[in-house]
Symmetry: C2
Subunit: 451 residues, 2 copies
């Protein structure tokens, strides 16, 4: 029996996260406040704890993972690296396909990798309550779980249309003791204003962020948590790639190309950045690191590299990143986690400087890839993960044509158990592809803030 | 960092299943046909393949696991044995709690352990098509997955009310290429008869079995699959306990008591029977093996040990087992997998002869236990599994009172991702307990077939 699953002992969970800032050719551009000046740590301390702000700004290559965080990680980590041998056989490719399965976490995705340390550091500085927003519910359920682990109350503002349509994710958050409110709610000024204007509002992620931030800013015992985009979030996610490197050593193999789905950038950064260290150091100059995004929200492939707001309403500091414009409204695709107008500033800069690549794939083809994967490997992937699978299968088929025995790694960021309604739409032929027209992107890019 | 997860290499997947018949004090009572005579293999060959019938009748202690089955098992097996250290701490018990996590399988439960060999042996004898029934969908999705692995078409008759209420499970079966029909359907005489009488029928598991068996019996290229109760099903499930024994050896520990949820008996048998071998041989005389069932369907604790039909309509052979009577209609509890009037003949005999025990627990308390487990260990358990968790927590609390440092093992038979609506009812206080009145049981027991 050939080994196809490469596991590590719990003791082999990495002791440090990797901070790519130490190895970037150029320093990252700082976030700017309304006055055009770099945002000061003091301004951010109203909603983030000191240790996370330090990580956000740090240039240190290795940041120690606190032991209590490793203790929680061991509930599901190290996650397995799996060789998709049956998929290779089904494709008839000489390529070797590997995936890192982040769907084994309590919440079913990679999100707890950062939710847990975020809860830990907030607990450490005496915070009793955390607020956050959630769309489809992956991030909210991860924060609910993480808060429960450290005895912190978690209040989740869930976009109202998801609150109504995804009761399973809501119940999951409640199982971990979180309070879940449909947004817009009556609990905040932002929510009340929205309801006054549109009593039947279905909510939006931007509005839910506003509610969560408002509540955190207004209470000394309460902080706010974000599940992607920021440097410290990507830092925590490097646990994925760091484990994968140890596992490839055990497998006696090494990737030639790595694919990850990319929305806010945290899961792609998580798997790719630790490998980028070697590439930046010239050890693996031909290694390709490819962010895969939807054609309907083509931030890295069709956006501008410019300063823009992180949210839709323009409440946040502005950050230098690839963006489609903060008032760009992507269509309601099923990979909700990839539906973001901007991207991580770190990933954006690395793509801009040519150390990483980006690729856009259409929705229907991603579900087709997901079903092919499920039939071969048994795991039903989240719609976000299907983007990386599509790209990996396409690469494997190119290898079939050329005869190249490449080693391909992709990030299986989560399982699709809560996304079966999306699969149902795919099976019934109701899914559509959507190429965002270039003029619409130009229009929203015209509203970028002036720097 | 203390080790809490005991993993095995893929090469350590057992090479043989364990057949408890070899170690039972008395031979099992044979199933009887309508003529009161033991059913002949020839009669069964219309719907089952020869190799499975051989296993059904075998007295051999060890049955080799075919290599192609082990190759599929490795997609998720060996499953982890986990020490629930955080739950122990939350309970403040001196007991050590371990669980075997069968929720890591593609379908999310222990069911693929037998679905895969059933598909394999049918494939081996040239069967092209398999039929089966499913209620909540765990078994149907496991057969869909297993059929896909060997290129066999799978047709699932899904109880109509579940078909309508559980679209996620339905889509999961479709993702693995199965055809799913609401039962009663127009595809069989049994279905057409039912629809003629009750055009709005919501279906029942008994009727879905009739449809699946009718179709299998009428076509030479088609066989039928059952997910519990029968000897060969329990045989395949012993992979759970066999792995657990290897893992306990690595942990340097050994269970004093084992709890498993018990409906048709396959998951309980799967974890308990390999340990029973040592108990029957006098090596671990004090080991307790406890089947946990719902108070609303108290087969082992309040049923009669007698010959009865396996289905509700009286189409199957009769089997000697604990039964509440084949026309007993348990209330619609959320642990659908435990809602069966009878039980495995092997488990029934071992309980009757005092080698195993049984315990009934009420529904609300099982969800309470499931939530306590989720908050400590991060995994949201299936409602069936919550029964074993309830019993394990109660035992751990007794240990707290007495100071005994017992080692407790329970079977986490599946995750609860498709059961969040049940949790939602629990959170909203809508769940009820249901003790079946003794008179109602007496009434259905009055209809047992005469032998």
């Amino acid at each position: 029996m050939q080994t196809t699953r490469f596991v590590l002992e719990q003791q082999e969970i990495p002791t440090h996260w990797y901070n790519v800032v130490a190895d970037m050719p150029n320093p990252p551009s700082p976030p700017l406040g309304p006055d055009g000046q770099p945002v000061s740590p003091e301004q951010m301390l109203a909603i983030f704890p000191g240790p996370l702000l330090e990580q956000e700004m740090s240039g240190e290559r290795w940041i120690p993972i606190p032991e209590p965080v490793r203790e929680i990680y061991r509930l599901w980590r190290p996650s397995p690296l799996i060789r998709a041998l049956r998929l290779e056989q089904a494709l008839g490719t000489p390529a070797k396909l590997y995936y890192k399965n982040e769907g084994v976490s309590p919440a079913g995705s990679h999100k707890p990798n950062t939710a847990v340390p975020q809860a830990f550091y907030n607990h450490q500085v005496g915070i009793r309550r955390l607020t956050t927003e959630t769309g489809a519910g992956q991030w909210g359920s991860s924060m609910a779980f993480a808060g429960q682990m450290f005895g912190i109350d978690v209040r989740v503002f869930m976009v109202k249309v998801s609150y109504q349509q995804k009761p399973s994710r809501r119940s999951m958050m409640q199982a971990w003791g979180a309070e879940v409110f449909p947004s817009p709610s009556n609990l905040t000024q932002a929510g009340r204003d929205a309801l006054a204007k549109h009593p039947d509002s279905e909510g939006s992620l931007g509005l839910a962020i506003s509610e969560a931030v408002e509540e955190a800013a207004g209470r000394a015992d309460t902080n706010y948590c974000l599940g992607s985009v920021l440097n410290h979030v990507l830092l925590h996610q490097t646990i994925i790639g760091l484990e994968a490197k140890k596992q490839f050593e055990k497998a006696g193999d090494w990737p030639d190309v790595i694919f990850g789905p990319c929305g806010g950038g945290s899961s792609f950064g998580g798997i790719a950045l630790p490998f980028l260290a070697d590439k930046a150091a010239g050890k693996t100059p031909n290694l390709r690191l490819v962010a895969v995004e939807p054609t309907s929200c083509p931030t890295l492939t069709k956006g501008a590299y410019a300063y823009d707001y992180g949210d839709a309403s323009g409440y946040t500091p502005i950050m230098k990143m690839y963006t489609l414009g903060h008032d760009f409204m992507p269509p309601g695709i099923h990979a909700g986690g990839l539906r973001y107008h901007g991207d991580s500033p770190l990933i954006s800069q690395l793509v801009h400087e040519g150390l990483m690549e980006a690729l856009a794939v259409p929705q229907v083809a991603t579900f087709e890839a997901g079903v092919q994967f499920a039939k071969a490997e048994g795991i039903i992937p989240a719609p976000e993960s299907c983007h990386a699978i599509r790209a990996a299968i396409d690469e494997a088929l190119r290898c079939k044509a050329t005869g190249e025995p490449k080693t391909i790694l992709f990030n299986l960021t989560g399982h699709g158990h809560f996304d079966m309604a999306s699969y149902d739409r795919y099976f019934s032929g109701k899914l559509e592809d959507f190429d965002y027209p270039a003029e619409a992107i130009q229009e929203s890019l015209a509203h970028l803030p002036k720097v």
